[in-house]
């Protein structure tokens, strides 16, 4: 262990601001990228599902019209 206490670890030998700034921004940008990717997947799947339902409705309506 390079540090003897939690305070010492957080203090980073006086470089706390710079070290945690670097790690913080790196973490944040990685999280944003992952969330963005996952949300995109969700959005695409929802869009395709919606379109399928709409197509089905249109087909049904056309069939009804044909029957009338």
């Amino acid at each position: 262990m390079a540090f003897h206490s939690l305070v010492g670890f957080l203090h980073m030998g006086g470089y706390a601001f710079y070290v945690w700034l670097a790690y913080g921004i790196a973490m944040l940008s990685i999280v944003i990228l992952v969330v963005n990717t996952l949300m995109e997947t969700h959005k695409i799947k929802r869009f395709v599902k919606k379109r399928m339902l709409r197509d089905k409705r249109i087909q049904k309506a056309q069939k009804m019209e044909g029957a009338l």
């Binding site: 710079y18 921004i25 990717t37």
Partner: protein
């Protein structure tokens, strides 16, 4: 000999294969990043000159290396897309670019946070820093160009051409510390002879490089799958996939 590769030119096959590979890369990313971060932040000894500020190396160097590796991946994809007209290759270019851009951004920001206490400046117009900034601009240009076309075949071609043009920046980044006298230090690991870093500091760094590499692969696969779903959204297999739950 290479015939086994042919089915993977089909989007569905590629989607399934990347889905199979994805959990492995996610697992590798999680384990290596935990080991690397704990080792690098807690157990590696402080540097005799830089104290604990050197711990920024464990994200700065892997991010910078993988930003360039991502570009090499894209360049290979772009070449395949342009020469053999394989549309999945163009999709892989579009999938990789945002990941590479984020890694470049991380390399620049962590570099700034390291430069301030060590050099006394957040930013200097030194050859390494400037060429890395240009890499970020190239990445953003590729992303912007791909999104500027609604015809994705054309978009893929345009983005691929820009990717190949931008390759010129890679050797400039790598050799910038040799060709110009820079504030940024020279190569520490990738050079002839022994690495210029103590083994107890090097090991966590190598593990973090693996972590960032696996993360790059995982995210690229995820984005590649998104890209396939968008482009194939009218195909029956995508409709079946969407209604059949998550797969």
């Amino acid at each position: 000999m290479w015939k086994w590769l042919h089915p993977y030119a089909k989007a569905q096959k590629s989607y399934q294969l990347s889905g199979k590979l994805l959990p492995w890369f996610v697992g590798l990313t999680t384990t290596t990043s935990i080991i690397g971060l704990v080792w690098g932040l807690l157990f590696a000894p402080p540097d005799y000159q830089q104290g604990d500020s050197f711990r920024i190396i464990y994200i700065h160097v892997p991010a910078a290396m993988m930003a360039m590796a991502a570009y090499v991946m894209m360049a290979i994809g772009a070449f395949i897309a342009l020469v053999w007209q394989i549309r999945l290759a163009a999709m892989s270019v579009a999938a990789t670019a945002p990941v590479g851009a984020v890694f470049t951004f991380i390399a620049l920001v962590t570099g700034a946070a390291w430069g301030k206490p060590m050099w006394g400046a957040w930013w200097v117009w030194d050859a390494r820093l400037t060429s890395e900034l240009i890499l970020l601009f190239i990445y953003m240009g590729i992303i912007g160009l791909y999104n500027a076309f609604s015809d994705k075949v054309l978009a893929g071609r345009a983005a691929s051409i820009l990717t190949l043009v931008g390759v010129i920046n890679l050797p400039i980044i790598h050799y910038s510390v040799v060709w110009w006298s820079t504030l940024h230090q020279g190569a520490t690991i990738i050079k002839f002879g022994k690495p210029l870093i103590a083994p107890e500091m090097l090991w966590p760094l190598l593990i973090m490089i693996v972590a960032f590499g696996a993360f790059l692969c995982a995210l690229t696969l995820m984005r590649f799958r998104n890209e396939i779903l968008i482009r194939e959204s009218h195909r029956p297999w995508v409709c079946a996939l969407v209604t059949g739950g998550d797969k």
